[in-house]
Subunit: 440 residues, 2 copies
């Protein structure tokens, strides 16, 4: 039947398709911090927000000659459709690489994905019905929370201590869930150089978490994009190295080569990888052969470990600049983590302060960060902020932290004058969908 | 609680994770024709199965110099994370390209995806709850059916005639659904050089279908990967050119440049594209900048329309070889479509024959095709098969069709001797998930 004249045949005026969306789409809204980040991308703003790899440390000539070499030798394969689970040679090379973390999979256990974000999406797709529960660290990776939200999954946050995910808190959460008749579909953890917390699990902590999950019959999703980026050159052994059936391991070339090629992977047990491959084919048919063969040729012909050592130096220098500047400029009552690898420092503001409410002022003062609330599903994290040091030059980082110190001091003054900075002030919400690639 | 010793802590022996999967995963099984295609990929088999573009017609030197140029000028962008909706310049270029089909979108209306397969996945994700109904042609694209199945969507097939989707049948189906209180979420159609049917909708047919959908308040998903590949150089105007609110248009560079870069796009109304972008960010963060900037540089610096003309010639020559060979080798009672563009001929076998049951014999006779059942959600299509002529050399196509003619003749003889070829013979099922990238 035709709708009354004068009205769009498709519904209301704002979005005529509104009535058509799936239930899962209703929670899909752009986070308010997006518009702030549009401002934050101006050159005068020091952005400590996005976790962008420092691509300038990679030789463009090397990439260029690698692609030329690849096209000359495997061009017909690179430009054609490929296997849903990825290029065979690349999967062999990934097996060699994860050997550094103590993992010895068969190439068939590896599924190549469009960044490890896609592996997260596919894993959630095959395991989680709406209303299912998963466990994640508090705080956790914003992109993973976005996926869990998109699949209408309930996230239970488990506290971290200075050694990462806290085993007592994990046991407690599992017990509470069991009492409610719930078994979580998996525990999602970033054991090494955690995003956003900047912490790493020591080996005994890893073993303890694994044993807890094994006893409870709960799968572990081990997300490890930064594992090779330890500043002292030490490569932590993956949880997956101790259990090939109970752990799905995720890796990525985004931080060891380049994010723009979008190549990541999952190492998964037999039955799971078959499902992941079918899900991947439904999602994108196959990952880009062009990207895959570029990285494969790079690994075969270039001293990639030397490049990783360069990246480590680049990030170590920036971590140092960040920590020094924090010591110099942060007011009393501010604390922060001391990352030994990766991209991030997690800063806890003085009691009573709100990093989400402070963001517009920080951007006005020409420094940007990601408020802590982005890393929680439930609005927690207001007293914290994440600083990413991966991209700016060390001097810019120092200047950014100096500006941030000024903003925090101003806020503290206001707070001491008026008692509280609460509800009366304009704020932004960091809730909603993934805040986008600019804050990964 | 720990499980009894001797048993995996995670469940049964075949797949210890079986009890954990989401409901949507239970229907996810590899199609049996996959194992046959593994055999069919041997060099002695003429494969008329996969719709692989003829990459050999593209100059590898051109691609190589394009990438070198791109890395020299935009390398830092190409290797970095980008926007969830794709590169701005590429979206402008896509607007110019779809102008050829009469579409005049704003660059903001374009979302770049990892092949148009990803656009199909995202569209289904944002619109369809489990149990929702969508309408598709009978037969329809196997990769789309895989997506609909993965999201637990009910597909209603609507008959085609020699001008594509039949308007009477569409009206009838909408009426029947309305009587059941159901409104389909969208009509999925490939109006130009249909995969697998090899048919095109004339302009008046397009207008009629659009009007039917507008009256019923039903969205159209117009999938158009082959639109520029008409053999007479004529470019049909898209349905989207007549309605920018009620149609989502999908395009791809897989067939006009190269499939291995995995770059496709959706042109969508305002509200929808916002949702699509959020869904894309959750799925892959952002499409590969490396691929996007390669195609963008190619479009800016190379005579891409001349290349498309070369592709048209390549495919026209192969279409001719296919049709000539069909005339020469097919037994009486066999009919086929006469595509004026694209990659596919849809062959209807003599009465009583079963293209799915025949496939193992065909592969034994060293020729492969995709059985018609793969293009239906419901087991229909047994009397049909799809031949793809895009990839093999014309002489190989003729030899393949000759072998196929032999197999059909043998089958006919058996049928005339024994009356039927039914249940007693070994067969394969083409049902299950997407049959994989080898049969797109």
């Amino acid at each position: 039947m035709a709708p009354p004249s004068g009205e769009s045949p498709l519904g209301n005026r704002l979005d005529p398709h509104l009535a058509r969306y799936a239930k899962r789409t209703h929670g899909m809204t752009a986070s308010e911090i997006r518009s702030l980040f549009a401002v934050a991308s101006r050159p005068e703003v020091v952005s400590l927000a996005g976790g962008m790899p420092n691509i300038a440390a990679l030789s463009m000539e090397t990439v260029s000659s690698t692609v030329a070499n690849m096209l000359a030798t495997r061009g017909q394969v690179a430009l054609q459709y490929g296997s849903g689970n990825g290029d065979q040679r690349l999967r062999e090379q990934i097996c060699e690489m994860v050997g550094l973390q103590g993992i010895a999979p068969h190439p068939d256990d590896v599924i190549v994905t469009v960044g490890s974000q896609m592996a997260l999406d596919l894993i959630t797709r095959i395991f989680c019905d709406p209303g299912d529960v998963i466990i994640a660290e508090a705080p956790s990776y914003v992109g993973a929370l976005g996926v869990f939200r998109a699949y209408q999954v309930d996230v239970e946050h488990v506290a971290m201590d200075e050694h990462g995910l806290n085993p007592e808190a994990l046991r407690e959460t599992l017990k509470t869930l069991a009492a409610q008749g719930k078994t979580p579909k998996f525990v999602y953890t970033i054991p090494t150089f955690h995003n956003p917390a900047g912490l790493s699990q020591p080996q005994d902590r890893r073993m303890e978490i694994l044993q807890i999950c094994q006893s409870a019959g709960v799968l572990i999703i081990e997300d490890d994009p930064y594992g090779l980026l330890g500043f002292d050159g030490h490569i932590p052994q993956a949880i997956r190295s101790h259990d090939s059936d109970g752990v799905i391991y995720l890796g990525s070339f985004s931080k060891t080569f380049a994010a723009g090629i979008r190549v990541g992977w999952a190492v998964a047990p037999h039955g799971v990888r078959e499902k992941l491959t079918l899900a991947a084919e439904s999602a994108v048919l196959c990952p880009p052969a062009f990207s895959q063969l570029t990285i494969s040729t790079y690994l075969d012909t270039q001293p990639w470990m030397d490049q990783i050592k360069i990246f480590r130096e680049v990030y170590r220098e920036r971590r140092d600049a960040t920590l020094e500047a924090l010591t110099q400029y942060m007011p009393e009552g501010t604390t922060w983590t001391h990352p030994t690898g990766g991209f991030y420092v997690w800063v806890t503001l003085p009691e009573g302060m709100d990093g989400t409410a402070m963001l517009p002022r920080a951007v006005t003062a020409r420094v940007a960060y990601v408020p802590g609330t982005a890393f929680y599903i439930n609005g927690d994290g207001r007293q914290s902020i994440r600083l990413s040091y991966s991209f700016p030059e060390p001097d810019r980082i120092r200047e950014g932290v100096r500006r941030l110190g000024g903003v925090i001091n101003e806020e503290l003054k206001l707070m001491h004058t008026f008692g509280t900075l609460g509800a009366a002030r304009p704020s932004v919400s960091s809730q909603g969908s993934t805040p986008g690639p600019d804050v990964v």
